[in-house]
């Protein structure tokens, strides 16, 4: 007696492993994007956040954006506060959305979706990459929502600038989504997104020279007279500082550092965080 062959045989399936993984990658990516589109709460956040930051905070603080250095009242940077904060708000919107979609790993874990893909022939790396790319895509879209406010912030944009900005946003979103997954993997119980917002996103954001500049015209010694030394150090150690800086370079042509530094830091930290997330993921 020989075991009967199944009616539909395996030869019907994609037998090329690479095609199989790519198909699955697309499936997981598509799911992330679809979920985000259907989540009205996330969309409301993505629209209201830049409006608050640009139109309320930006316009409100605009007249105060000047510094008094050694008795001389000048604009610290040759831009209005609105223009100055605009690229940072793009980064902020990306941060929220990236981390938020990464944190959904916790729900995927608790509510079984992750289990469903973990028992599929997808490798762990594909599952993670699909998840991160999906989250990053949504985050870039939310970053672009901010660009719609450009004319209210007096930021003239060329198409080429927008394309360059999207490239930078994608790098940033990839790194931040990986960061979110790394954190989510280490969390067993979930008390809400507020914890993330207050413990991760806002501290990173406020210490990245996004809401106030560290005047590049000043020497290091002079900077430390204007600002306490610890704050200067924190800002300089925060990788987000360089990401925001390169976004500024593209959007308003203002760089405090070498723009290549920002790209390099985003690439390295993105790769590093993704690797950590991958190592964690393999244990699941």
């Amino acid at each position: 007696m020989t075991p009967l062959e199944p009616k539909t045989s395996f030869s019907q399936l994609n037998s090329r492993p690479i095609l199989l993984q790519l198909g699955g990658l697309y499936g997981i990516w598509l799911r992330e994007v679809k979920r985000a589109i259907r989540d009205k709460g996330q969309l409301v956040g993505g629209i209201s956040r830049p409006i608050l930051w640009v139109l309320i905070l930006g316009i409100g603080l605009n007249p105060y954006f000047r510094g008094e250095v050694y008795g001389e009242v000048t604009f610290v940077v040759p831009f209005t506060y609105l223009q100055f904060i605009f690229p940072a708000v793009v980064a902020l919107n990306i941060m929220y959305t990236s981390v938020q979609s990464a944190v959904s790993v916790i729900w995927d874990r608790e509510f079984g979706f992750l289990r469903e893909v973990l028992v599929s022939p997808m490798s762990r790396g594909t599952v993670l990459l699909g998840k991160v790319l999906g989250g990053a895509t949504v985050a870039v879209v939310h970053g672009c929502l901010v660009l719609l406010l450009a004319r209210f912030a007096d930021v003239p944009l060329q198409w080429s600038d927008i394309l360059k900005a999207i490239g930078l946003m994608a790098l940033l979103a990839f790194a931040l989504t990986s960061l979110g997954v790394v954190i989510a993997n280490r969390i067993r119980s979930f008390e809400g997104f507020g914890v993330f917002s207050n413990a991760v996103i806002l501290p990173l954001y406020f210490t990245s020279s996004s809401v106030f500049p560290l005047d590049p015209a000043l020497t290091r010694a002079q900077t430390k007279v204007v600002y306490p030394e610890w704050l200067v150090n924190v800002v300089q150690f925060n990788p987000l500082t360089y990401a925001v800086d390169s976004l500024r370079g593209v959007l308003i042509n203002y760089n405090q550092f070498d723009p290549r530094l920002g790209i390099g830091i985003m690439l390295i930290s993105g790769g590093l965080l993704f690797t950590i997330a991958f190592l964690d993921f393999r244990k699941m």
Partner: protein, 332 residues
């Protein structure tokens, strides 16, 4: 490269599988074979090791020692190949509630590498089978729990699964839905010639299976057809609740050789018709209740494990799950 092992005509082979969680032994050198196209039931009280066994088979849990093969593929060495042959329905729902019914099935087809044409055709076929065709474009959130279960069964069969693992597929469902789900499972076994391994709490569902494996404390207690089990182990049992402690003690001392179990004030005695009669005439006025249980798999189970099948209290996982259901957490 995948290395397929010939398994002497078993669809699933398990050899001396052991799994420990800290100091608890979840699986203790379990070995068993499941034949092709068999409907195989795993029966055991909570914490017996059923779910651990299922998780090892679907490669999300690594065994400490021992081996297991799915359709000839080692679950530890060749998990990807093993997974392609498996259709799994987990104990907890694992559908994406924000995707539609169709999208859930399509996603499954994508991650299992089912080519577009076959995928479309399969989805249609399976939706038809579980009678959810009209719901294809509805969000999964809108489905009842019975419908979700049916959808999960459909999903497990979108790819060419040869072996289906169902972990408590009917738990928490009403009798009608349970019956329906079983009719799908049986029909599938005929149509697709698949092997089905199912764990369940409900004894009556086990009656229709080809073979039953009772496990407890990580060990296989028996493995046989339901009929053979009933013949060998079933025992008519008297379930007695005495009126007072004195009576309880009296029964315990005078019929200690018939005692099979005691939970609080309930006493279980082995019995036959003549014993029941004499027991009633002796104690008839001094007991609060007496139930004579006819031989069934339930009593087989009881006499083997000394325990009843019952639901456990909510654990951490259930509580988090309940939080998510209530909370409307927007990251979901």
């Amino acid at each position: 490269m995948s290395s397929k092992v010939s398994l002497n005509q078993s669809a699933v082979k398990i050899a001396e599988l052991t799994k420990r969680y800290g100091r608890t032994l979840a699986l203790d050198e379990i070995s068993l074979d499941v034949r092709p196209q068999e409907l195989f039931a795993l029966l055991g009280p909570n914490g017996a090791g059923k779910t651990s066994l299922i998780h090892i088979l679907c490669t999300i849990l690594r065994p400490d020692t021992g081996q297991a093969w799915i359709d000839g593929f080692d679950v530890v060495k060749d998990p990807l190949a093993a997974r392609r042959r498996l259709g799994i329905v987990f104990q907890e729902p694992s559908l994406d509630d924000r995707l539609t019914v169709y999208e859930n099935l399509n996603l499954h087809g994508l991650v299992f590498g089912v080519p577009r044409k076959v995928r479309k055709q399969r989805i249609e076929e399976m939706l038809n089978l579980v009678e959810l065709t009209e719901w294809a474009d509805k969000t999964t959130r809108m489905l009842s729990s019975g419908m979700k279960r049916r959808l999960e069964i459909a999903r497990a069969l979108i790819h060419d699964s040869a072996i289906m693992l169902l972990d408590e597929p009917t738990v928490g469902l009403d009798a009608q839905t349970r019956e329906k789900i079983w009719s799908y499972i049986k029909q599938l076994r005929e149509d697709r010639q698949i092997t089905v391994i199912v764990t369940t709490h409900y004894i009556d569902e086990v009656e229709g299976c080809d073979r039953v494996c009772v496990i407890d404390h990580g060990k296989i207690l028996v493995l046989d057809t339901p009929e053979a089990l009933k013949k060998t182990y079933a025992q008519q049992i008297l379930r007695i609740i005495p009126k007072s402690d004195e009576v309880l003690q009296e029964i315990l001392t005078s019929h200690s050789h018939r005692l099979t179990g005691q939970h609080g004030e309930t006493i279980l005695l082995k019995t036959d018709d003549s014993f029941t009669e004499s027991f009633l005439s002796e104690y008839g006025t001094r007991i609060r209740s007496l139930v004579s249980e006819v031989p069934s798999l339930e009593t087989v189970f009881l006499s083997l494990t000394g325990r009843e099948l019952r639901d456990q209290a909510a654990g951490v996982r259930e509580r988090t799950y309940a939080f998510g259901k209530r909370g409307g957490e927007h990251t979901r």
